[in-house]
Amino acid sequence: MELSVLAMWHTEIAFSEKPTQNSTHMNLFDVYREVQKRGGYSGAYDEMFEQVETLTPRPHYKALLDRINTLGEDEFRRRVSLADATLMNQGITFTVYGDAQGTERTFPVDLIPRIVPADEWKHIERGLTQRIHALNAFLHDLYHSENPKILQDNIVPRDLIESAVHYRRAFIGCPVPHNVHVHICGTDLIRGADGRWLVLEDNLRTPSGVSYVLENRLLLTRIFPQLFASNRSLIRPVDHYTTCLLANLRALSRRPHPTVVLLTPGVYNSAYFEHAFLAQQMGIELVQGADLFVDNDVVYMRTTRGPQQVDVIYRRIDDDFLDPEVFRPESALGVRGLMRAYAKGNVALANTIGTGVADDKVIYRYVPEIIRYYMGEEAILPNVPTYCSWEDSERDYMLANLETLVVKAANESGGYGMLIGPQATVAERAEFAERIQANPRNYLAQPVIELSTAPCYQEGSGIVPRRVDLRPYILTGPEGMTIIPGGLTRVALKEGSYVVNSSQGGGSKDTWVLTSSTLRPAAPAPRSNDVIA
């Protein structure tokens, strides 16, 4: 990794403060206003500009904007291509299809960071803490006894829970260390047109993307070293993530020196880079299903020194594929007998079995009620208004207003199984109307939310607005909750698009959470003489 980073570091010193001639007659932001109108972004909240018309930045973006303008287009473009080469060389890629075709792509990173000032982050943090506490209490209730309190009290309809695809009734009463069900959570937040933060989705199963948070930060420190240098202690670090995760995982075992492993589907999985990265950063074994076996309800891995007992599995495989004895019998990714070991408490899983019932897109509608029920408070971060075809009145509204709504299937993710009403054809809407009537349990609808826009560099045109969301990562251990400041800002790179998922042409940004309300300007770079000396 250090090789290319070193090369970039040198070029940074060599080129950084040379004013680019082009920058005087070509401004990178020249097209911003035009694209805002053309792409239909005018109604959205812009993260960088208070007023797009005059390109007046919000206070916390001013230092960054100045820095980008100082660099100029040529230099900025050069850094973009260096960054892409670095990611490719480091193999920070996802597999598009098999290696035979050699198709691996880098997950596009936009080099302009997204900045969140301290007070906004404090609000987000409070909201997430409240929400994850409530969802965990909900899961505890559901999997603790045959007759959960929340169902007795009719807060969430019993039928909805029992028909949820990811509800695992067979696992009620299994031992759950520290009563923590969701050790790793990635909640998707968006910002509406009025600038308010909303929760779009809870990801309580195996959320991915955190490796990009860590790698993006590393990359950005090479791209904007001066900005970082003059803002030491103002930009909150993110690199304690793996340390914290490892400590939490180890705490799931009662044995003094537990063996913790990360279970991956293998090198052809699109998130394999992340699995390898996390295992490496934590110094734990990266295992595949075939490396493990269960004997007498204890899990072992096959090592060069014979079988070694496994105590904790950070699994990056969905419930359905974990154990062919219990779930899909054809799955070759899992481990036969793993669920027996789990039910006996001989191995801990992170996250536990069945957490998906709480991030079901239909259950989502009830999360504000769930928060009120367990926490006795109103939700700090509101939901996006949601209509469920389950409820008769809401279904009628959905069917009558399909052209203004986004419709989602309850159990799909990654941007699949979606209808974006305003952008859909008449035929597509008709097809979804039929599906909704045929299977009301499975659909929900939300009004189109104008996701906020943030500046992104687009090869050939300059810096343009694009829609973004934010996925913070929340770790829960016996000592409580840790939220990594920031998270993954995902970008819908296609003009006009709302879809930020990497599988559908999305990219990402580094997210800077500040300890203050603004950044200081970049430090003046040393003159070349100083560097040589």
Partner: protein
């Protein structure tokens, strides 16, 4: 360490060493062929060596002559270079070895250092995807081959510099050295056969093909070190002794086998004369043979037979390692 990962580390080492050995061999012979006399001239008959014989030798070292003949027919230099270096369908071509090394590295990227991973990954990306093969065959493959060697060397250096000295490190090195012992013995065998016209009778004095023996040493990156060791000049016996039996030269078969044994012992922790498993026993026995033999013993055993046995014994060691450590 997981058996699957030990297996990937071992084969990553083997494939890189194989890529390097093949690249070096083709490069040296390519340049030797440029200087060699035309076929059928008086000079050729005297020296028993021409470009065609050289390429024939290379094909024999690889052990893939049948595959080549089936695909390309007669030996022509550009075809041979394509086959040995660029052919993605030939499993032992340089690019195939780099691809295989990278595939193995992918399975253990959390175990090897980031620097090592990036070196293999870049070798794969930059050397196996982005070259204009036709252009290179029309000019010279030298830059490409040199680049392969440099990247392999960088990888070995990074392994020493950045890897924790533990089982993973020893499995990588076991792979590298076992492959080296095998490659150097093949190289010696086939080059000696070429240089002696197939009868393994070594000419000393005025009929000796000094140029050929130099190429032989260079193919193993051994020429300069050889000069330092043998000030008196080049004789076939000195070359054989150096490539096969030398104690101090890192590419001699002897040294490579001694390293295999040492790495295996480091993995199991066995000391003294005791061995913990069959792989150690076989490696130790071969090491001991090579320690106490002289060139005269090689001649007595029959040079060709002896070298062939070394290759067989290397395979046995590999099988024993697999049985003990790598099988799931």
């Amino acid at each position: 360490m997981l058996s699957r990962e030990a297996d990937a580390l071992f084969w990553m080492g083997r494939y890189l060493e194989r890529a390097e050995a093949t690249a070096r061999l083709v490069d040296v012979q390519y340049h030797a062929a440029l200087e060699s006399p035309q076929e059928g001239t008086a000079e050729t008959n005297l020296l028993m060596r021409d470009a065609h014989t050289l390429w024939q030798s290379i094909l024999e070292i690889s052990g893939d002559e049948l595959i080549f003949r089936a695909r390309y027919g007669d030996i022509h230099e550009p075809d041979l270079i394509r086959f040995m270096v660029f052919d993605p369908d030939h499993p032992n071509s340089v690019v195939s070895c780099i691809r295989a090394a990278r595939r193995n590295a992918q399975h253990v990227r959390e175990i090897i250092s980031s620097e090592m991973w990036e070196t293999v990954n870049r070798a794969y990306l930059e050397l196996t995807l982005n070259w204009d093969v036709e252009k290179m065959l029309a000019t010279s493959p030298h830059t490409f081959l040199l680049d392969i060697r440099n990247r392999c060397h960088l990888f070995y250096g990074l392994a020493e510099r950045t890897m924790l000295i533990g089982d993973a490190y020893h499995f990588v090195k076991t792979g590298i050295f076992l492959e080296r012992a095998d490659q150097v013995s093949r190289l010696t065998d086939v080059l000696v056969r070429g240089l002696t016209g197939g009868d393994y009778v070594l000419d000393e004095g005025e009929h000796m093909d000094t140029h050929g023996w130099i190429a032989c040493l260079k193919s193993a990156s051994a020429f300069e070190a050889f000069r330092k060791m043998y000030r008196g000049g080049i004789t076939p016996d000195h070359v054989l002794s150096f490539l096969i039996l030398d104690w101090d030269y890192p590419s001699s078969v002897h040294h490579a086998v001694s390293q295999v044994e040492r790495c295996l012992r480091n993995i199991s922790g066995s000391t003294g004369r005791r061995y913990e498993n069959n792989a150690e026993r076989l490696a130790g026995r071969l090491h001991s043979d090579l320690s106490f033999l002289t060139v005269a013993d090689l001649h007595e055993a029959g040079l060709h037979l002896f070298l062939e046995q070394i290759q067989e014994r290397c395979w046995e060691i590999g099988d024993a390692i697999t049985a003990r450590y790598l099988k799931r």
